[in-house]
């Protein structure tokens, strides 16, 4: 069996393993702490008498995330999955387009120290800056810079919608993926541009655009997928916190709220979806690397 097939077979096994571990551990772990509200302001009013907002006792009234939103769990779950997938697909598209473009640009400008160094420096910093800070920064920037005299705003700073609401969370979540893709693309492309066959192509008088499109890009395609896999893993990891900050009720936010109200089933479903994304993206990244990285494990 080839290593590629072996690597792909590990994906469903890993997801099943995560599921089993969560089933065994999560109910016991949740029994050890009292329920709490992840976000003040939402409440479970099971009784007809409304209680003061933010009271700790309210969390005790919630048995599940479905109680929090008064929506059947399946509907809530499917809706949350679509919301999170919208962010991740958007991040993947941005990373592929913008990241690859920046990487190619940095490689082509490798003789211009400031331009190339600038792109590398900026992407290095962006790859390291936490998504939560990017989210806060963008929110504050929109509030401060985008505020109009009439009290309007450039963009909504929180809330859900498949419209302009997407912009800020998408930017927050996709910056690491863009940065990783740009860095790896630039590094790999610099190697390819220094290869003999590119020198020969230049010597024969082929245009730069032709060389890049026909001779170079096919060589950097694996590295782009590796970078995309690694970058999107970071995006998935920051999904809960970004959704929490933008009040974007996706899978990450659902998992956080399930921890708060001690909804074991809600948490396990959400965590398994996130784990599935992790495992799949890891496989994508691994399959794009030299075989030594996944070897004969």
């Amino acid at each position: 069996m080839s290593p590629t097939v072996r690597r792909l077979i590990r994906v469903p096994f890993a997801i099943a393993g995560v599921w089993i571990v969560l089933l065994a551990a999560v109910p016991n772990l949740m029994a050890r702490y009292p329920a709490y509200l992840v976000r003040p302001g939402i409440s479970c009013t099971r009784s007809s008498t409304p209680l003061p907002l933010g009271q700790a006792a309210l969390a005790e009234n919630c048995r599940s995330v479905a109680d929090l939103y008064r929506i059947p769990f399946l509907d809530l779950f499917v809706d949350a999955m679509f919301r999170s997938l919208a962010l991740l697909v958007g991040a993947a598209v941005l990373a592929l387009a913008l990241g690859t473009f920046l990487g190619i640009l940095a490689a082509l400008w490798r003789r211009r120290a400031f331009a190339s160094g600038g792109i590398v420096g900026v992407t290095t910093v962006l790859a390291a800056v936490p998504a939560f800070f990017v989210a806060y920064f963008l929110q504050i920037a929109v509030i401060v810079v985008g505020a109009s005299a009439t009290g309007g705003r450039l963009l909504p700073v929180y809330g859900f919608g498949y419209d302009e609401h997407l912009v800020l969370p998408l930017l927050s979540i996709s910056l690491p993926a863009i940065a990783y893709t740009a860095q790896l693309t630039a590094t790999r492309m610099q190697d390819v541009l220094d290869a003999d066959f590119v020198t020969t192509a230049n010597a024969k008088g082929l245009s730069t655009s032709w060389i890049v499109v026909v001779h170079v890009l096919p060589h950097i395609r694996p590295v782009v997928f590796e970078a995309l896999g690694s970058g999107l893993r970071v995006s998935v990891a920051s999904l809960p916190i970004v959704e929490f900050l933008f009040l974007w009720r996706g899978i990450g936010q659902l998992a956080l709220e399930a921890i708060g109200v001690r909804d074991a089933a809600g948490f396990i479903f959400s965590a398994v979806v996130l784990a599935g994304l992790f495992v799949t993206l890891s496989a994508v990244a691994d399959l794009s690397r030299p075989r030594a990285l996944y070897g004969d494990a």
């Binding site: 995560v18 772990l29 050890r32 939560f132 504050i140 009040l247 494990a297």
Partner: protein, 789 residues
Amino acid sequence: MIDRMSVLAIAPLAALLCLVLFGERIAPHQAVYFVVEHGSDPRPYEPGVVFPFGSDVLGRDLFSLVLAGAPATLKIVLLAGLARVLAGVLIAALGSWWRPTRLLAETVAELTAAFPATLVALIVLKAFVKTDTSVLVFIGALLAVGWAGPYRVIRAEIDRLAQAPFTLGAHAVGVGRWRLAWRHQLSHLAPVIAMNLSQQVVASLVLVAELGVLGIFVGPTRSINILESQTVVRVGPPMSALVTDMPEWGAMLATSRTVEALWTTRWVIFIPGLAFALTAAAVGIIGFALARRYARRDVLEDRRGASALVLIAVTVLIASSLIPERYAEARDWSTAGRKELRSSIGVAGAFEEAGLRTYVVAREISKVVRTGPATVTVENLAVAEAYPRPSDPEPNTIHVQSVLAAEAGGGVFQGPLVFAARGIVPSETAGLVRGFTQPYRGPGSPTGPHLAGLLETYPDDYAGIDVRGKVVLLVRFMGIDAREPGSATANYVDGPAVEVSIADAIRRGAAAVIFVDPMLGSYTDTERSAFPGLRASGLLNPYLSMEREFPTASVSRVPVVVLDPLAARSLVAPLDLDLSPFLRHDTRDTRWDRSPSRGLGLSARVEVPVRTDTVSVSSVVAEVPDIPDEVGRVAVWAPRNPDSVQLDAARTDVLGALARALAARKAPFIFIDFDPHSDTMAVREALKDRRIVLVIVLQELHGGVLRFESANGDLIPAFDLYAEKSAARYEITRQTAKIESFSAVAPLPGIRTVAIRADAAPGDARADAVAVIAYVAGRLALGAPELPR
């Protein structure tokens, strides 16, 4: 050729090292400095109003807090990153050398890497941390969710090296496994490890930040309320907030995380967030530079890089010696105070020996005292109190006790005797309170049934009788054993406190009260301890406590005499009145069809002979001489035990040591040995020309661990810091004292007050109390801004 990237990385590396090593020392202010008011500016102050980077909600400098929080935050993430990489290296090496472990390691790593780290760390910390998250637990959680990444990368590199031609060659010439790893492979692993370390530090930093945003952070918290420290209370700014004991960036995010804050107080989130982002970027740059530098070099032979690192370390260490600890000299004051501790015979003598200016604030007060035994006579039968009362009597030797407290007073009254049973009024039981705020349940059953619920079917004991102008015979209601049917374990729901029952009878018009208490013989006069050094909660005589806390002021109040069952039975024997059913707890099944209360058709005489004495009480005030009038002074206020005419030995020694230590250094301190029978106004009057800015109430020192209490929230972190700096054993102060309850402790209203006591854990807290107060004096002398002037 010098690698420019490496040079570029040295700056953030040096900056991070400085932050870890110096932190608070280079901050403009310490974390204990609060600006609770600044004209009409609302808190948190905007950047530039009071501090360049703004303040938090309680008025502390955000920039200083970030600097003060840097060591803790960076140490946590560095240790967590190191632990992750070390675990990765060890497990990868083990899996490489001993194949059976490899499959297990691979499987566990695959699963660990698949879990979303933030969610797993959150649920683990929620489940295993009950109160405060310790640094080790936090690092453990960061390690548990993050070791798989380094493991997989390092394992892949080890596999690659195992197949490398030089490894095969080394094997062929018989090089041993350890030598091969150390001499040939480690140099190739070093770049991967270095790069991975920086990645893991960044990952840990991000996780700490995300957990902070979700409200999980390291260390204990305090609930600080600064309302009492304000001179003007404005509507709007919050008066209280949670403050962590250890400044930490995650905690700063945790305490400022609301959507509304983005509009109103965005700098409170932005500044710590920026600290996280800059640090992450700095570590990222260092990692990038390391990877570039070592990608084509043998790290063990790269002496130039090692020299640069050593140079940085030496520079930072030299700088460390040049930047001293803030207010380091105050520690000398503390040490000097400890050295002065020795036994003092009396407070006045110690003050004079230290050269303080001493004067006595004397006052005449009236006091109601007994002049003979209290007696109760019913027909021809009489019982009398032992007079004078023996001190700390043996159990079951006290049968009669008069009460001179609150509404209960002395005098003689003879009138018709009426039996009020246990004085139960179900309709009023719901209002019975203990601690004046909570419905009374009884000490053994904090979550058990309410007394009111259990008494719903009981008849009203006062309904069929008129007690006005009569002698009321009342039995203490012991309560109800509310155990479930079939249960062998008692579940006592106690009746109301004795003072409540007696006061209820007096409120209804009783002219004298004979109160039968089945527990009278078992009370102790003082709190005894079964274990030396520990306080016991024993059955302290509640009537003596009442007399201490609420002494009667008049000789002509309602005479009240308490009898034990033996004395009570001897009195009522001829009356066909069986008291036995009333002297024990009822059960859930007990049913009273009608109240047993009734007029007894006899007259009774209750006599409590008393007189009013005028006594002179005196407090001793001493101050360090030659201090200009305009200088603000700190008052150390030691209230005597109400039963004693002089201050206890422990506090006498503390005041003596402080007097000697602070007089020598001319610290603006005033010491007051206060007689609680006097009143604080007399002392205030004596000190009216002195400007007192801080009062330290020195309470009794029964244990070995100091505790602080204050209604001025801004002083709480400060005193905890002083105790830490003066190496005292202390308990972290968790919350600000309520103003209403603390006013009984604070002698001078309107002046910031801290109470110090020691009542936990065995030991001797005298030296620690001296050290803390001397440290306060030291900081005051050195100009610490958090202390009022």
